[in-house]
């Protein structure tokens, strides 16, 4: 072994030029691979932080009637099926030790109507209990104008990005009630018309949901303008509204409806003791409709009832306890939800987030392919260089074989040379890559591009490298070394003593 190492090392020094070429390739490959792995890890972490921690949790519960699992950015804003069984869902979720927190929300598309424009705009609505939303996603946006709504307040939080889009198409600049245009927050187009801005502090939203013909147009006061911490161009399409107003807007049953319209003593009369909402659409439906109409307006005008959980939702976002087994959690959750007759299913975040999750996978795949391509090229160059070196050294190798060196010795010698080069230059590349991964976040390289933000792993380029990631790179490098050495080894071991003599 020492003999092989000695000969291999001295051969490297003897053929400095070739060794340097191979070394530079290995260094570059290892460096880019380390950095690539860092970017992939950072991206995975960034996606987790941005989407899971900041927008929709690890798992989403959606109605079993929902055709597509993608409920975030669905084609043409296809409606999300309502969930009317949250009262059944809640105890199931509360009983799971692997669930850290959960939040029921409404999510659908709405038209944005404005009397000054003939053409309606569109916005995604997320109906939430503002207090609970802040607990679930504490730092995913900042209120840049206005204020955060008080608990139970009917209000709309308008995203900064959507505001810019609305101005671009409808020339209306939304501002919070009682506020004016803040110059620093004006979009480029709005800034150009700063003196003639048409300001609006409320928006009329008309819910859009397939299968429901009774959506309402409701004027929402703009309580605040928000800016999402990351992926603002994607998440910035989502307006946050209070859940009761959302339900009103979508024509869903509000909690107020439920509380007011079906008092206990009347349930008996209506035959609704079992809480079967469907029966309301039976023969007694006319009675319920009449009954519903009167208290609804009252409910809309007074404070939201204390228990908003009675009404309709579309999605339940779930955060898992750190370290919880994802697949096992998903499986158990689906089992228990089905057993409880909730009519919902649990889907993973990457499916629920649709194109964003898919985009992340594509970018990760592309990066992986790029790194592998780089190494394939490196392997080809190393194979060629070493094979040529083997042929040039035919006399020396043949003589070694003549005086008793086995093929394994010759193979070991070539593998040793490649291994030393890999260890020295590849190792250097890995160290340089690790340093780069550590230094890059300190440079705070930012981007406004959302796709790059996914790649960056956050607001700024933030590659991340774990010990496992480094070990993976070392393993990949070892694999490259072995693959690159195989063919030259075959060439070298194929040289016979007779070849050496013939050359002489």
């Amino acid at each position: 072994m020492k003999l092989i190492a000695t000969i291999a090392w001295r051969n490297i020094l003897r053929h400095k030029g070739k060794s340097l070429v191979i070394g530079i390739i290995l260094f570059t490959g290892a460096f880019l691979m380390t950095l690539g792995n860092g970017v992939i890890s950072g991206m995975a972490r960034g996606i987790e932080k941005n989407i899971i921690e900041g927008f929709m949790g690890d798992i989403a519960l959606i109605s079993t009637a929902q055709k597509s699992d993608n409920i975030l950015l669905n084609l043409m804003g296809a409606s999300i099926e309502p969930i009317n069984t949250y009262k059944k869902i809640k105890p199931v979720l509360a009983a799971q030790p692997f669930i850290k927190s959960f939040l029921p929300v409404g999510k659908n598309l709405s038209m944005v109507l404005d009397e000054r424009s003939d053409t309606p705009g569109f916005a995604y609505l997320i109906g939430v209990d503002f207090a609970e939303y802040r607990k679930m996603f504490p730092d995913n946006f900042t209120v840049i104008e206005g204020s955060y709504p008080a608990p139970g307040e009917r209000a709309l939080l308008f995203p900064d990005f959507a505001r810019g889009e609305f101005y671009r198409y409808y020339n209306v600049w939304f501002v919070p009630e009682g506020g004016g245009a803040v110059k620093a927050n004006l979009s480029k187009e709005a800034l150009a018309d700063a003196d003639h801005l048409i300001l609006s502090s409320s928006a009329v939203l008309l819910g859009m949901s397939s299968g429901i013909n009774t959506t309402n147009d409701i004027r929402f006061p703009v309580r605040g303008v928000i800016k999402y911490r990351a992926l603002n161009q994607i998440f910035g399409h989502f307006c946050l509204v209070d859940i009761e107003a959302y339900r009103d807007c979508l024509g869903y049953f509000t909690a107020a409806d439920m509380a007011a319209q079906v008092p206990k003593e009347e349930k008996k009369l209506l035959g609704l003791e079992g809480g079967d909402l469907d029966s309301m659409f039976g023969e007694e439906a006319m009675v319920v409709a009449d009954y519903k109409k009167a208290p609804k307006k009252i409910a809309a005008e007074k404070a939201v009832p204390s228990d908003t959980e009675d009404g309709t939702y579309n999605v339940v976002f779930i955060r898992l306890v750190p370290g919880a087994g994802y697949d096992a959690a998903l499986e158990k959750l689906n089992r228990d939800l089905a057993a409880a007759g909730t009519g919902v299913k649990a889907v993973p975040w990457n499916k629920a987030s649709g194109p964003i999750g898919g985009m992340a996978v594509i970018i990760k795949g592309a990066l992986f392919v790029f790194v592998m391509l780089l190494f394939s090229v490196a392997i080809i160059i190393i194979v060629n260089t070493l094979s040529m070196a083997a042929m040039e050294r035919a006399s020396e190798i043949g003589m070694m074989r003549a005086i008793g060196a086995h093929k394994t010795f010759i193979a070991g010698m070539f593998l040793g040379e490649t291994a030393i080069l890999s260890a020295a230059f590849g190792g250097g590349g890995i160290i340089a890559g690790v340093i780069a991964v550590r230094v890059i976040p300190l440079l705070r390289i930012t981007t406004a591009n959302d796709m790059l933000q996914i790649l960056y792993g956050g607001n700024y380029f933030n590659p991340l490298l774990s010990v496992t990631g480094i070990l993976l790179t070392v393993l990949q490098l070892a694999l490259v070394t072995v693959i690159a050495a195989v063919y030259p080894m075959r060439v070298a071991t194929g040289i016979t003593p007779l070849d050496a003599i013939s050359r002489d």
Binding site: L3, T6, N11, L13, A402, I403, G404, K407, L498, I501
Partner: protein, 228 residues
């Protein structure tokens, strides 16, 4: 005692569609401790004969026994072991490992035999002294003259105490004085270690060193001339 026993040895080389016979049926026996020269014109088959005896080139047919063992039907691993343990080689072009110094080149076969580094070094030091290169022990081949390199090759060929040392025209690339000194050294080692030496040459001046001369022509051994 015969160290080499060859019967009806034939070797053909394919050349395109034709077969070129190099050896046409050689019978030869070599005794232990012989200092034998194979002579003959270029293309007569002497190098081929040496290569087959040295397990470098396989025979087409016939029988070749080295140290009592038939070598024509062995695997590559077995043949390599024979080359390592039984045979020493001295090549025409001094073939040394360029990245190793004199001592390392000499001890190389012993390390292949898995001898301890200390034992190998001791034997190499003994031989480097015997071939008169003690002062050049840590020099690389590129720092040596042709004659010095051939001395290193002789030391390396003898380091494992082989039964046979094969030398293919060992003096061909040396001037006459150096060539003579190399042959004297080989002769000395032959006497010192009782090692069988077989060397090919077509230099008539070197024949005076041989105890036995085998003449080969057109792939056949002619009647042996009287030894010097």
């Amino acid at each position: 005692m015969d160290i080499i026993n060859i019967k009806e040895l034939k070797k053909d080389y394919p050349l395109g569609d034709t077969i070129v016979p190099a050896l046409r049926g050689v019978d030869l026996t070599v005794a232990q401790g012989d200092f034998m020269s194979i002579i003959g014109p270029s293309g007569s088959g002497k190098t081929t004969l040496l290569n087959i005896i040295g397990c470098i080139d396989p025979a087409t047919s016939g029988s070749v026994q080295v140290g009592g063992r038939e070598i024509t039907d062995l695997t590559d691993r077995q043949i390599t072991e024979i080359r390592l343990n039984k045979i020493g080689f001295i090549f025409q072009t001094f073939n040394l490992i360029p990245v190793l110094d004199v001592l390392e080149n000499i001890e190389f076969p012993l390390l292949l035999m898995k001898r301890s580094p200390a034992e190998a070094r001791k034997r190499a030091e003994q031989l480097v002294e015997e071939v008169g290169l003690k002062d050049y022990a840590v020099h690389r081949p590129s720092e040596l003259s042709g004659g010095q390199r051939q001395r290193v090759a002789i030391a390396r060929a003898l380091v494992t105490k082989p039964d046979i040392v094969l030398a293919d025209e060992p003096t061909a690339n040396l001037d006459s004085v150096t060539g003579a000194s190399i042959l004297e050294l080989m002769k000395k080692m032959n006497e010192l270690e009782n090692t069988t030496f077989i060397f090919s040459t077509h230099d008539a001046n070197v024949l005076k060193y041989a105890c036995r001369i085998v003449k080969i022509k057109d792939g056949l051994i002619e009647k042996e001339p009287v030894a010097a």
